[in-house]
Amino acid sequence: MGANRCAIVGIGQTHHKAKRQDVSIAGLVREAAARALADAELTWKDIDAVVIGKAPDMFEGVMMPELYLADALGAVGKPMLRVHTAGSVGGSTAIAAAHLVMGGVHQRVLTVAFEKQSESDAMWALSPKIPFQPQLTAGAGGYFAPLVRAYIRRSGAPDDVGLQVAVKDRLHALKNPYAHLRIKGIDRAMVADSPMLWDPIRYLETCPSSDGACAMVMTSEAIAAAAPRPPAWVHGLSTRSEPVVFAGRDQVNPQAGRDCARDVYTQAGISDPRRDLACAELYVPFSWFEPMWLENLGFAAPGEGWKLTASGATALGGALPINPSGGVLSSNPIGASGMLRFAEAAMQVRDQAGEHQVDGARRALGHAYGGGSQFFAMWIVGRDRP
């Protein structure tokens, strides 16, 4: 943590959909940014610097798109930074932006993350033909399904925990007007009957492919004093990375995730995350990652995460709601997915989450991960000034 406090005074997101053909890439990011500015009651002119993030450029077919987006984001004449840390990028981008405020370098920072997957072919971009090796798997699911199998084997979890998460997050999404998947009548049978894609992962246990963007305005304490609505305050933030492969690596419960969580809890003075946090927005692209991350983040002991999920505690109304927004399983504009977790956590402590608000949320965790479960970005935000 830095010497200066950082406040989130504006939050905006787009309506997420499979294809946002009503807007260009510039129109998409501007929609989210304009909503964040409106929430903060600031104008483009008030912003000192812009930090933008997204996953691989090949998802849209635009190389280093910050160059083309400078005009649309009102960045002309300002510093602009483009972060890319794979799936964790939305979180890492928010963290880079927060450090601009915490380091005292700028007072009002706009941060934006997006993906417009419909502009290109994400499956193609994720599985390019690399020479020297035959094509073996298919997209992200082919990579993560074996990890899910390893988790089930290790923990002895019953087969249906994944179904439960898939239903729960989609029920949450029905309360979120921005969510991409809003599946009327979603239930366990519907998920169980959906096609098995990457065994043991079924179609409805996977995230969609979305177009969408998320933006936040962060300011110093002095600027936040004039904010029209109560800000969310950064209580702790961190990143951790580890190699994609090494001999003996634990990919199911990666140390980078454990270390990152410990770091943010320490900064925020949290000794028992299950007790001290009102809710968490976790990056769960496949349903089974909820119990896996509950263990990785210290909400449950190793091998016990599925029991917390099975108990119903992670549903809205439970003791520890996970992904009240509907999560990545309901909206997945990849580059923005991490920032949406961070932003939804901030919306909760600002009492701004509407129908999916957790009553009286004072502190919440935003979590993002990427690569081969190797890049982690997290923050804890609170209603009270730290």
Partner: protein, 352 residues
Amino acid sequence: MRDVAIIAFAQLPSVRRDVTREEVELVQPVVAAALAQAHLRREDVGFTVSGSCDYLLGRPFSFVMALDAVAPWPPIHESHVEMDGAWALWEAWVRLQAGDIDTALIYAYGKSSLGDLPEVLVQQLDPYVVAPLGADAVGLAALQARALIDAGRVTERGLAELAAARRRQAADNPCAQRRAPRSADELLAEPYQVAPLRAHACPPISDGACAVVLAAGDTARRLVSSPAWIRGIDHRIEPHQLGMRDLTASPSTRLAAERAGALGGRFDLAELHAPFAHQEVILRDALGLDDGVAINPSGGALSANPMMVAGLARLGEAATRLMTGQGRRAVAHATSGPCLQHNLVCVLERDV
């Protein structure tokens, strides 16, 4: 702001096409060398950040495997920018301002040789109305050069003389790629690549990598004898639509220089990231540098231009010269995007 210094810089010799090294093999030696120079163990680095670009390598997530070069185990505090490494250095400098960590490792790598670089760079342009035209980076730079010549600010002979001077300087830099001396007359005899630019006024296509170590305050003083202190650093971006810009000026460089404290005062040397010869003229004017300043003693980007590396290398080259006593105060610059769209300025100083 907190005092932060460049305390180490290592680079590979730039080559037209490196067939022996894939990404991690490019990065591992420069990281090891920079850490050794800084007398720092890898587990003591507080923050690691890199700059690279998937489109150069032709595949997504190319930075993931390169990360092995720093052996991120136990897990490290890390970030990556899809930009020149100079912006990675800026993120690290910002991160060090928070005060809880004291050192940062920055690395950058680029293999422009894998694809057709001008065609790859077309993908940087507005995807709806400009990129489909297929205007490549050399063509756009030629538009800019023409505007500068028509404005009477430089001549084709002037560009050849500038390129000849950079080659003379590059002869002393073992990491430069274009080191064979040529007279301005010889260079002027070359055919146009894209008129009014001949090959000598355009950058070489290069593969390369470099690494820098930053340290704050007393840590910097403890680790090395003469750190190159960052007295100011800032960057600014301009409109992407070329029609909205005066291509003969670089107002973003000017503004960044003002914020970094680079206007006025004496500089012993300047390392300017000018991939095209005429851009050096624009940058020199924007920074208000007079004839007393040694410009691009390394040979500059005209002598070696590994994409995503060349900007960070300007900061590293300038710092190295200060740390080895070849000057007390330097300005370093990095650029990104077509026709100098985005510019970073850094003022470096050695203690007397």
